[in-house]
Symmetry: C2
Subunit: 175 residues, 2 copies
Amino acid sequence: MNEPLQERKTVFATPWFQVLAAPAPDGGQPHYVIQGADFVVIVAVTERGQMLLVRQFRVAAAALTLELPAGHVELGETPEQAARRELLEETGYEADTVKLLGGLSPSVARFTNRMWCFLATKARPATGAETRREAGVDLILYERGVRALIEEKEFYSAPSCAALMLATLRGGLKT
Amino acid sequence: MNEPLQERKTVFATPWFQVLAAPAPDGGQPHYVIQGADFVVIVAVTERGQMLLVRQFRVAAAALTLELPAGHVELGETPEQAARRELLEETGYEADTVKLLGGLSPSVARFTNRMWCFLATKARPATGAETRREAGVDLILYERGVRALIEEKEFYSAPSCAALMLATLRGGLKT
């Protein structure tokens, strides 16, 4: 069943992703895939059970969205290091325990990268964090629980929903 | 907070998606987003509680993957029509009730399209369906339940996980 991997050629590049063409075995239209850095998505919960969310304007969605904290894994970082850094940059929070829930594909049909999902428990404000937080990203301490969260109109990110699924079934997060 | 939408220009096109550039308000690097057709993801369960899965080779993931049935919404189709068509083409099954669970963004940071998640209950083989099924896609009747499914090595599609989350919390699917 496994087809041999054909050589892939970069046919378009941006600073954030590249479009690669894989020649079709039958000489037809090449298969186009998108290559970018891996990213992390973090389900972070405080000791009081609040979930850390970020609200920001997203150009692709052309809207304000409510999401779990997330971001790219930088060169030289492990996914866990990226999760801790993004959590701090986007929310100003830190946690002793940041546990890997699993690695998923954001799109097996189109993206070659992976998204690494983490569960951070007993998250707490880091000292001096307010001055370090990213501009344009609002922090929301969400208290209504997972079941209410997926009904929020601004919460429609599939990667966020997928990470919540892993946190629920693998991490023991209550719905 | 909402920035005005800038004009977007197609800078690269394939038969399946286009890369658009949105000029940055400050004149810096444009923001690149990817435009493609909407797609559907279907959580389909038989009367006996088996979940319909598809196994296929995916070029982007460079691997055999296990996923929920899914596919693009064609021109002139409603998402529900696309869900019924894809379910039939990929699995040979049909269902009287195909209920919309919700619309998610596959990537609020990069994709402009939507994925529409459906729950099909009491799915059953369609008459003469075996002859119509897509080549290269294997049907799996999964009996072990959602909790076991997310532990399967080949099941790592974030859109599939996100659709299962909606099916669980909105559709009453048991984990």
